[in-house]
């Protein structure tokens, strides 16, 4: 229960006060009317007595009466019985009282914190107090109690009357008639001989004062000085002292009176209308109490508002009638006020209190005299004789409800009367004992109504007894309420009892009991009462020691519901709003929605559409658990309300709650959207909004850009380098303001989400933006024109709106409407702010504790001056290639901006995929793509086919081709591209060596010719996918040739190396590729070259069908040493061996370029290894050995493929590279497929490092041996049994170190098969030689072999051991022997003996 202004004692005391009636003569009435008051009203402000009165109780004890209030009322006679309920007029009055008493705006509210709830509510409820006061005052006088029966009657006559005494007589008779004639049941009178108090009213302004005094003297004579009074008033004239400010004590009392008048008038005029309309209201609102049944109440807002205005009109009309009600007591001075006060005091103390005292005494005497009779006898006689007090059954009320009714003079009632009188004069002790006695009597008589009344008053007087000799008997009250309610069906009395009891319980801190009591009192018969009591119950819950917040909220809702049923919208709204505080954002969405919905409706009907919009909006924003139809209804209501708000002011667009903008998913794209293809041309893909953001790819692009920037800035990436980001999304780094170029568009993609189950349709979406120059806020909102129609259906997320604009601000603006069906009906326009929250910070401790977000500047671009803008187009760009295929395409660079650009370069993830050609050779190629059709990509020379032709050689510096890094400068004319200019360049492509789909990324870089701009450079991305299919597989191996050195003319020592090239057609496509032709084999190396094609079969142009394999054999020789090698510049020797008619110059553009690109990795390794041993030659065995086996020969196989495609034969060309590193090791053009790494057992101990193995195999190749001897030798064994054959053993040192060599001819190898063969011949002469060979030295050693008979012998038995000279500690290693050297020894017949051989 809320706090009250009055204390409990005051309140209870004031609830029961002595009643005084007033009868006025017409003349007297006229005088008081001057003050705009009647007599009763005139006295009202002075009815509370400030001084103490005294009364003697029956035992002659003086009883102090203090703070007494009397109630003076004009006698209003009426007929009819007392009803158990309030009449409609009274109800309306109460309704109006509550309606007029509203909480002030911004009134002081209590803030209460319980648990995690913080509640804001008003602690006082003045409307409830007003209601209570009015309710108690309007209590009808009942038969079973006498508290509001009139005790006295004031007879007022004016002194201006002709014969005032006669008037008094007349009034006195009138009073008598009213009381005793039985015509009127109302008013009721306490005691048969009512105190009559004669008042002579004298108007000083007009009457004759002496006459008045004379009359007063006469009255004193007649009625005694205690029974009459002369009241002088109206001493102020209208005209005089108009300015004097006199306090108006009436206003606070009479304001209720005015209301009362109004209501009675309204009831008269609109008696039929208002109850009807309020029925309509309650009917329409009833449904929303707890079941949200809006389906049938669509459009109910319209009717509601209509009814509401109707009621308002009705209520306000009489207001106009009572004009000038504001000024009361206009003719009264402050002196007059004192006079009146004095009069009331005089009347009470001289007239009323003695009268009461006298009556109490009388009653007491009666009771005492009767005390002798025993109670039981008394009742027995009553039963036997039924004497005097026949229990009369009231016909109007059912028998069972109240039991019997006593006649007015019944002795049981006397005691009650006495109790009431004692109570009124504040003698509570006596009153309690009387009530207690009366209660017993009534109960034994089963007079329930009487008993309940006695119980109620007994409890009250027990409570009011000061010093509290006994505890407050709460159960008396409970019984009384129960009886009133259930037995007597008298809700009014029950309500009064409950109000009193609740207030008393509250004062004792028994909030829980009070709440239960109040809740019990709610019933269907009065919504207003139920509402008020529920609200008080809610306040009880919150005021408990452990506040019950949720109960408070729930009962507030119930109260709100009842208020709205009673037509008290404002109170209803207030209740719901207070309850909302508890339910808000706590997960009880269903309840929250319901409250919001009700708040919305009430606000709307109360002409607070803004609040209504907010409430409805809340429903829509919340994660709704409602059904689709319910959501549809909500949305419809929202749109309706919203529309009405918009109708009022359309200056600024309000916020729309729907659809939800997923702001973090917003993507911002700077620049034009790319045309992907233009005829034959294929534009660079760049970045488009269709692409998903990919962390890896963006890192890759960033790396490429870094490479480019580094290459521009001499290898250093500047500290302030930032990656160019065209498309910003939630994964990109948005900490810096993005840079946007003036006059280039910015595209914003916004993602909307419809959280509802109802589809929404959006139309006319546009983006609002603001531009501010240099930070000054000279900005205005501008709107982009964009018409998009979009329907978002159930809970769908849609990315909508590619808004094109040139600068922007954070706001989307669109029409919102629901579904298709209501498109034309309910369309509202609003906007939504686009505010992007940055990622959550998680670095410092504070960040982790709180939820902080970093900045996100996606939508705050800085606009920079014009920058060049380049577009790149590709012509004849293939999508599929054979591995190693060479294709020529064209690339076009267009400067589409107004600013010149320069510094064009490109970086790629696959630099070996393409080349722009080296500067030296480009001019030769035709510039236009059309003229070069069907032409070979290679530069060729026609040469005659010569068998056994020797390779033609070209010496080329690697610097002509290779670039320092993956960045390639694009050779355009003049290195700048003026605005609007475009240039076309040829571009050679080579299919990747590995089959499959390759993603190849290009990043083009360019900068403005002007320097020092905010944007240092711009980039353009391009991604192509190339599908590479298998072509040829080339395996190459090299081995030392055993051909003696003198066979090759220009070999100076180490002899030739044989290179075997295995080519296999591994193309798998069935129809497409017919056959491959190996056109040319070229070599490129710093030290070696291919010298000769030595295929055994003379099939030149080598053809390879599907799955065919060919073996080519070449001899390679060392290059001639060049002077250039001494320089830092490395020269490569390109040797071409063409198998066809044309010689392709492998050192020129496409071929050479790709060679350098592909081999760039491998050759760089080779170089680093080659450079090492020059410093510590010989110190490291392995390096020496390596060096000796090092070949570093790169073989380029150029092929042509005949392909049938669309019945047309195409010739494709390509080249494959094989890098031969060492002799004896096979190299392949196909990089071995990386096998999926098998699961390796986890080892917990590190394995022992493999033991160092001496490089025996390598060391065994230090020395190359050759045996020179005649192939056949004829010897006449008949003549000479010993045949001596001279054999030369040539030793050539392959290494670059001095080598010690031991040649042992006698050495027997352990293998048995060799034993067999050469057992029959022997070396003669010196059988062991120790030699030292200088680097690359060739030494011949003459040996002699001795044969005993003819046959075939293997001469290759000498064992050669070698070791580098420096390695003294090492043992000589056995050198690898060449293949068997066979000699045929013939036995000659005598006839053909040559004469010379005989010797």
């Amino acid at each position: 229960m809320a706090q009250c202004v009055q204390s409990v004692q005051e309140f209870v005391q004031d609830s029961f006060v002595p009643m005084v009636a007033v009868l006025c003569s017409e003349e007297a009435d006229r005088i008081t009317r001057k003050n705009n008051l009647n007599f009763a009203e005139l006295l009202r402000p002075f009815c509370r007595l400030t001084s103490e009165g005294h009364i003697r109780d029956p035992n002659n004890q003086v009883q102090v009466v203090k703070n007494l209030r009397i109630c003076v009322n004009k006698v209003v006679t009426s007929e009819g019985t007392t009803s158990a309920a309030l009449n409609p007029a009274q109800r309306l009055l109460l309704n109006e009282v509550v309606l007029s008493c509203q909480p002030q705006e911004g009134a002081v509210t209590n803030v209460m914190t319980t648990g995690d709830y913080e509640l804001n509510f008003s602690a006082t409820t003045p409307w409830f107090e007003a209601y209570r006061e009015n309710f108690l005052q309007s209590m009808p006088a009942a038969d079973h109690e006498f508290l509001n029966h009139y005790l006295a009657c004031l007879l007022v006559v004016s002194s201006t009357e002709a014969v005032p005494v006669e008037q008094f007589l007349k009034l006195s008779q009138e009073q008598h008639r009213i009381q005793h004639s039985g015509e009127y049941t109302n008013p009721k009178w306490f005691i048969p001989n009512t105190l009559k108090y004669y008042v002579l009213l004298h108007d000083t302004s007009e009457g004759d004062e002496q006459r008045a005094d004379a009359v007063y003297e006469d009255m004193k004579q007649r009625y005694g000085p205690q029974g009459c009074y002369l009241l002088k008033m109206n001493s102020r004239t209208f005209s005089a002292e108009k300015d004097e400010q006199i306090p108006d004590p009436w206003s606070q009392y009479l304001h209720k009176n005015i209301l009362r008048n109004q209501v009675s008038k309204v009831t008269l005029s609109k008696c039929t209308r208002i109850p009807l309309s309020s029925d309509v209201m309650s009917g329409s609102l009833e449904n929303h109490a707890l079941l949200l049944d809006t389906a049938n109440s669509s459009g109910s807002l319209h009717t509601l508002s209509a009814v509401n205005t109707d009621l308002k009109k009705g209520a306000r009309d009489p207001d106009v009638l009572v004009v000038g009600a504001g000024s009361h007591g206009a003719c009264l001075t402050l002196n007059d006020h004192d006079h009146i006060r004095q009069f009331v005091q005089e009347f009470t103390f001289r007239g009323l209190l003695p009268h009461l005292e006298k009556n109490i005494r009388q009653l007491n005497d009666q009771l005492v005299s009767r005390k002798g009779l025993s109670r039981s006898l008394f009742t027995a006689t009553k039963k036997w004789f039924g004497g005097g007090k026949v229990p009369e059954k009231n016909i109007s009320e059912p028998k069972s409800t109240c039991g019997l009714l006593y006649p007015p003079e019944a002795p049981e009632l006397q005691i009650r009367k006495m109790a009431d009188l004692c109570f009124l004069v504040q003698h509570y002790e006596l009153a309690y004992s009387c009530y207690h006695t009366a209660k017993k009597d009534f109960l034994s008589d089963q007079a329930m109504l009487y008993a309940a009344g006695a119980l109620e008053m007994a409890a009250v007087s027990a409570f009011l007894q000061c010093g509290a000799p006994r505890p407050y008997p709460a159960h008396y009250m409970d019984t009384a309420i129960q009886t009133y309610k259930d037995v007597c069906k008298n809700m009014v009395l029950a309500e009064r009892c409950a109000l009193l009891s609740a207030e008393i319980l509250k004062s004792q801190g028994k909030y829980s009991d009070a709440a239960t009591l109040l809740i019990k009192m709610t019933s269907e018969d009065s919504d207003l009462r139920s509402a008020l009591l529920l609200e008080q119950a809610a306040h009880c819950f919150i005021n408990m020691r452990n506040p019950m917040v949720r109960k408070f909220a729930f009962h507030m809702i119930l109260a709100g519901h009842r208020f709205s049923k009673a037509g008290q919208r404002r109170h209803a709204l207030r209740c719901y709003c207070q309850a909302m505080q508890v339910y808000k954002e706590r997960g009880w969405s269903l309840a929250e929605d319901h409250i919001n919905f009700t708040i919305g409706r009430q606000s709307f009907t109360l002409r607070q559409p803004e609040n209504a919009v907010i409430a409805f909006r809340q429903i829509l924003i919340n994660d709704s658990r409602q059904t689709a139809t319910q959501q549809g209804a909500f949305l419809r209501e929202y749109l309706y309300v919203y529309k009405s708000v918009i109708g009022a002011n359309d200056i600024s667009l309000p916020q729309l709650p729907l659809p939800c903008i997923n702001s973090s998913a917003t993507r911002v794209y700077f620049g034009h959207e790319r045309r992907l293809a233009e005829g034959e041309k294929q534009a660079a893909t760049h970045v488009s909004l269709d692409q998903e953001y990919d962390q890896d790819s963006s890192a890759m692009w960033c790396h490429l850009e870094e490479q480019l920037v580094a290459s521009v800035n001499r290898g250093i990436v500047p500290a302030n380098f930032q990656t160019t980001q065209c498309c910003l999304n939630n994964q990109t780094d948005n900490l810096c303001h993005p840079l946007a170029v003036v006059e280039e568009p910015i595209i914003v993609e916004i993602t909307f989400k419809n959280p509802l189950k109802v589809s929404l349709s959006l139309s006319n979406l546009s983006l609002l933006w603001k531009f501010s120059s240099d930070g000054t806020s000279s900005s205005k909102e501008t709107k982009t024109e964009d018409l998009t129609e979009e329907t978002i259906t159930n809970e769908e997320t849609t990315a909508v709106g590619y808004f094109m604009l040139y600068c922007l601000r954070h706001s989307v603006d669109f029409f919102l409407s629901i579904g298709h069906q209501t498109l034309d009906l309910m369309v509202v326009r609003g906007k939504q702010n686009l505010k992007i929250l940055g990622p959550r910070l998680n670095l410092t401790k504070e960040d982790k504790m709180l939820i902080r977000h970093g900045p996100d500047r996606r939508l705050d671009p800085i606009i920079t001056p014009p920058m060049p803008l380049m577009e790149v187009f590709f012509l004849q760009f293939p999508t599929a290639l054979l591995c190693g295929e060479i294709r020529k395409a064209y690339v076009e660079f267009c400067n589409v901006s107004g600013v010149a650009l320069c510094g064009l370069r490109v970086a790629s993830t696959h630099p070996d995929f393409f080349t722009f050609g080296s500067q030296a050779t480009t001019p030769l190629t035709p510039i236009s793509p059309n003229s070069a059709e069907n032409c070979s990509a290679y530069k060729t020379l026609a040469t005659a086919l010569q068998p056994g032709s020797v390779a033609s050689e070209v010496l080329v510096s690697a610097d002509d081709f290779s670039q320092p890094s993956g960045v390639i400068e694009i050779p355009i004319d003049g290195s700048t591209l003026q605005s609007g200019e475009s240039t076309q360049l040829p571009l050679w492509l080579r299919g990747p060596d590995q089959e499959g789909v390759h993603e190849i990324n290009f990043l083009f870089y360019y900068e403005s010719t002007e320097k020092g701009l905010k944007i240092s450079h711009r980039v353009l991305r391009h991604t192509v996918f190339i599908c590479a299919s298998r072509s040829l597989s080339v395996q190459a191996s090299a081995c030392r040739s055993s051909v003696p050195p003198h066979h090759c003319q220009d070999d100076k020592g180490s002899g030739g190396t044989l290179v075997f090239v295995d080519v296999e057609n591994i193309n798998t496509s069935e129809g497409g590729v017919r056959e491959f032709h190996i056109v040319q084999v070229s070599s490129s190396s710093q030290h070696w070259r291919l010298h000769k094609y030595i295929n055994p079969d003379k099939d030149k142009d080598c053809k390879l069908g599907s799955r065919e394999r060919a073996k080519l054999c070449f001899r390679a020789t060392r290059c001639k040493p060049h002077q250039a090698t001494l320089d830092a510049v490395e020269k490569y020797t390109f040797a071409d061996l063409n198998l066809g008619n044309e010689r392709i110059i492998s050192s020129s553009t496409p071929c050479g370029d790709f060679f350098f690109r592909s081999s760039s990795r491998t050759s760089s390794i080779g170089k680093s290894q080659a450079s090492l041993p020059t410093e510590d030659r010989g110190s490291d065995i392995t390096s020496i050995v390596k060096k000796c086996n090092d070949l570093d020969l790169n073989i380029i196989i150029i092929w042509k493929a005949y392909v049938v495609e669309d019945n047309k034969q195409l010739i494709l060309e390509g080249q494959l590279h094989v890098a031969l590193q060492t002799i004896g090791k096979e190299a392949s053009s196909l990089t071995p497929k990386e096998e999926a790494q098998e699961m390796v057992l986890l080892k917990f101990k590190s394995e022992l490092p493999p033991p160092v193995v001496l490089p025996c195999a390598e060391l065994s190749q230090l020395i190359k041996t050759n045996l020179h001897y005649p192939e056949t030798y004829t010897h006449p064994f008949v003549q000479d049994s010993l045949c001596l054959v001279p054999v030369t053993l040539t030793l050539s040192n392959c290494s670059l170190a001095q080598v010690d060599v031991i040649i042992d001819l006698k050495h027997k190898s352990s293998s048995p098969e060799s034993l067999e063969v050469h057992s029959s011949f022997a070396w003669v002469g010196q059988t062991q030689y120790n030699l030292q060979l200088k680097p690359q030295e060739v030494l011949g050693l003459s040996l002699q072999a001795c044969f005993l008979r003819a046959g075939v012998y293997n001469l290759n038995t000498p064992q050669v051991f070698a070791k580098p000279s420096e390695q003294s500690a090492m043992r000589e290693t056995s050198q690898q022997t060449a293949s068997p050297a066979l000699i045929i020894i013939n036995n000659t017949c005598e006839a053909c003996w040559p004469a010379d051989r005989r010797t």
């Binding site: 819950f541 339910y583 997960g587 309840a591």
Partner: protein, 139 residues
């Protein structure tokens, strides 16, 4: 059997509410929400007197005109509320107790699910099944 079964988080927001006459869901929401006041009152009262030896079953929270509301609190202060029709007089205290125990067991299973995020509303078929078994069969 029950007409409404609710599981309320420690912070007093609903983890799970299911009621039989679905059209009157809101009413049950209000009822359950309001009953939390009584639950809290009972918890604080019990905490004082018995200390750790706490009875999880709270008994009848409060009777309304049409329903009886029973409460149960786990040790982690998750509340179970069962609303029973007042007209159903056959239900004894022991049966309510066993219903709560069953509910608690099933709830524990839900919490043991490693994929369940504590604090999220319960979306478990098994739990649904247990609840359905305890609800009044309509139709």
């Amino acid at each position: 059997m029950a007409v409404c079964i609710a599981v309320i988080a420690k912070e007093n927001y609903p983890l799970y509410i299911r009621s039989v006459p679905t059209q009157n869901e809101l009413k049950f929401h209000y009822t359950v929400h309001t009953s939390l006041d009584v639950v809290e009152e009972k918890i604080s009262a019990v905490g004082k007197s018995l200390g750790d030896q706490r009875e999880l079953y709270l008994g009848l929270l409060y009777p309304t005109e049409d329903y009886k509301v029973y409460g149960y609190v786990t040790n982690s202060k998750v509340k179970f509320v069962i609303v029973v029709d007042s007209s159903n007089t056959s239900l004894r205290d022991n049966e309510i107790r066993s219903m709560f125990r069953k509910l608690h067991n099933s709830f524990t299973d839900v919490m043991c699910n490693p994929f369940h995020n504590p604090g999220d509303s319960i979306q478990s078929k098994a739990f649904d099944g247990i609840v359905s078994g305890m609800m009044v069969q309509t139709g």
